[in-house]
């Protein structure tokens, strides 16, 4: 009997016995045993979450500098743009302003959201007076006060508050000192997570605030090798394996032109989208679809088949 192997036709040649249900059951048992063994041997990571409370108690000067930066508009989130605010146009892809076009759907104005709104909860007259003075001032005046205080703090990196000897800081030192007290007690964490609903499920505000910190949050991540420039996308805390399937995504951030590009996120996401499309289109890709023929690994997979072919 002579057969013609046509992959699009239903197979009518020789067969071998097979039990799909038995195979499936055995596979589930094997994977369950493997997972249980790996869990007993290696467990799983759980590095405790950080808070504005732990930040302000661990590195108060960094908290004070970052909070002042929020008022001065110099932090990452203060200058972010969409979807949080209108401070910038965000990264672009040629004429495509994807980030900006999506709009400000998650409004966060750091000076208001992280500082003045939470301070309004405090029942303290000097704080309330300071916030009233801040709000009454022009944007220009606010900027001058906050920048002057930020500059002065920059010269004394260990300070958590400074005397206003030159009368240049306005209400800023009072506001920041009160915010530090709130943060240290944990009240600020509560204030930032409950501004929308008293039962928090959304951590956008405290996480944006934390991510603005250079001396705490980013530092902790860098120690765990989680930074974007450390292949951090695929890494895990401790010595556990992480999302190794993101290796290619992670790779681009380590090499030029992405590494030093201000548009790295847009470029890498677009490139990965394109490469994914290519992977899906392998069956019609001119060169790649022929690779399995040129590098005959299939000869090993079907070696019995080819061995018996005439």
């Amino acid at each position: 009997m002579v057969l013609k192997v046509d992959p699009s036709k239903k197979w009518t040649g020789p067969t071998r016995p097979y039990d799909i249900i038995k195979e499936g059951v055995i596979a589930v048992v094997v994977v369950a045993l493997l997972a249980a063994g790996l869990s007993l041997f290696f467990s799983s990571p759980d590095e405790k979450a950080v808070t504005l409370k732990s930040w302000s108690n661990t590195n108060a000067p960094d908290f004070v500098q970052t909070a002042t930066g929020e008022l001065a508009g110099t932090t990452t989130s203060a200058g972010y743009g969409a979807p949080y605010n209108h401070a910038a146009k965000g990264p672009t892809l040629g004429p495509l302003k994807l980030q900006d076009w999506a709009g400000v759907r998650i409004p966060v104005d750091p000076a208001t959201s992280f500082v003045t709104e939470p301070l309004a909860i405090l029942n303290d007259s000097s704080t309330n007076d300071a916030v009233t003075a801040w709000k009454a001032a022009s944007a220009d005046q606010q900027g001058k006060w906050a920048t002057a205080y930020a500059d002065a703090l920059g010269k004394k990196p260990d300070a958590v508050s400074l005397e206003d000897t030159a009368n240049a800081f306005g209400p800023v030192p009072t506001m920041i000192s009160s915010l530090l007290v709130m943060a240290k007690t944990g009240a600020l964490d509560g204030a930032l997570t409950t501004s929308d609903t008293p039962l928090p499920t959304n951590f956008t505000k405290p996480l944006l605030f934390l991510a603005d910190s250079e001396g705490y949050f980013g530092d902790l991540a860098a120690k765990q090798h989680l930074g974007g420039d450390q292949w951090g996308v695929m890494n895990e805390t401790g010595s556990w394996p992480g999302q190794s399937w993101l290796w290619l995504f992670s790779l681009w951030y380590q090499v030029e032109p992405f590494k030093s590009s201000g548009n790295a996120d847009t470029l890498v996401m677009t490139l990965m989208g394109f490469l994914t499309l290519c992977l899906a289109l392998f069956p019609i890709f001119p060169f790649i679809r022929k690779l399995p023929y040129k590098i005959p690994i299939h000869r090993l997979i079907w070696k019995k088949w080819y061995a018996r072919k005439l």
Binding site: P14, S43, Q99, A102, F203, L210, T266, P292
Partner: protein, 209 residues
């Protein structure tokens, strides 16, 4: 157009139930060339998905913070994590195998494409899983991943910093999406049968196998 071709129910029946023999769907034999360990990695990936759903359901029983305070909860978290690692290992080996077999031959392009979609949907599902650990890792990943999604205009709708959103996506919509794509992928494999060896014009002597 005949009346059956206009009938939605008849069309659905033709494209589903009548497109497959019971023997295709639940086979008790396979073509003789299906004889390599590389063929077990598809079913191992599915078995890992079954374990992911089972361990994930256990983790839902006492809420997102349970595993931080209970050694039983922590064990199920470990089971869930290692099932993820196994899932991706098996899926990648399966993908490599299918690539070197050029398994898209014989009008199987849709099978390959649904496999790629399942891979990508799994990566997104895994990411949301990492986002809802409610520990330092999830906090850091949330603040990093937001920039990627924001840069594409997606972050305005899928906010990685919104833990509640990530939890609901991870336990409802995304596993459902992965499940549907995987079932579709399996049905395509079963309907078309396992791709034969690369040898379009080959003639073989029957009975050799």
């Amino acid at each position: 157009m005949s009346s059956t071709e206009k009938n939605w129910t008849a069309r659905l029946r033709k494209s589903t139930l009548e497109s497959m023999e019971p023997q295709d769907l639940l086979p008790d034999n396979q073509p003789a060339y299906v004889a390599s360990w590389i063929y077990v990695f598809g079913v191992l990936t599915i078995a890992s998905l079954v374990m992911l759903i089972a361990t994930g359901l256990v983790l839902t029983l006492e809420g997102p913070a349970w595993w931080h305070v209970s050694s039983v909860g922590h064990f199920w978290n470990s089971m869930h994590l290692w099932s993820v690692e196994l899932f991706f290992v098996f899926m990648v080996v399966h993908l490599w195998g299918k690539f070197w077999m050029a398994a898209w031959r014989g009008k199987r392009t849709a099978t390959w494409v649904t496999g790629v979609i399942a891979f990508m949907a799994s990566i997104l599902t895994a990411l949301t899983g990492y986002l809802i650990q409610t520990n330092f890792d999830s906090q850091w990943i949330a603040t990093e991943a937001k920039d990627g999604f924001n840069a594409m205009g997606i972050g305005a709708f899928f906010n990685t910093l919104n833990t509640g959103q990530a939890i609901l996506l991870h336990v409802a919509l995304l596993p459902l999406a992965v499940g549907i794509i995987v079932v579709w992928h399996i049905l395509l494999v079963r309907r078309k049968g396992v791709v034969p060896p690369i040898d379009n014009d080959a003639t073989i002597e029957g009975g050799a196998f």
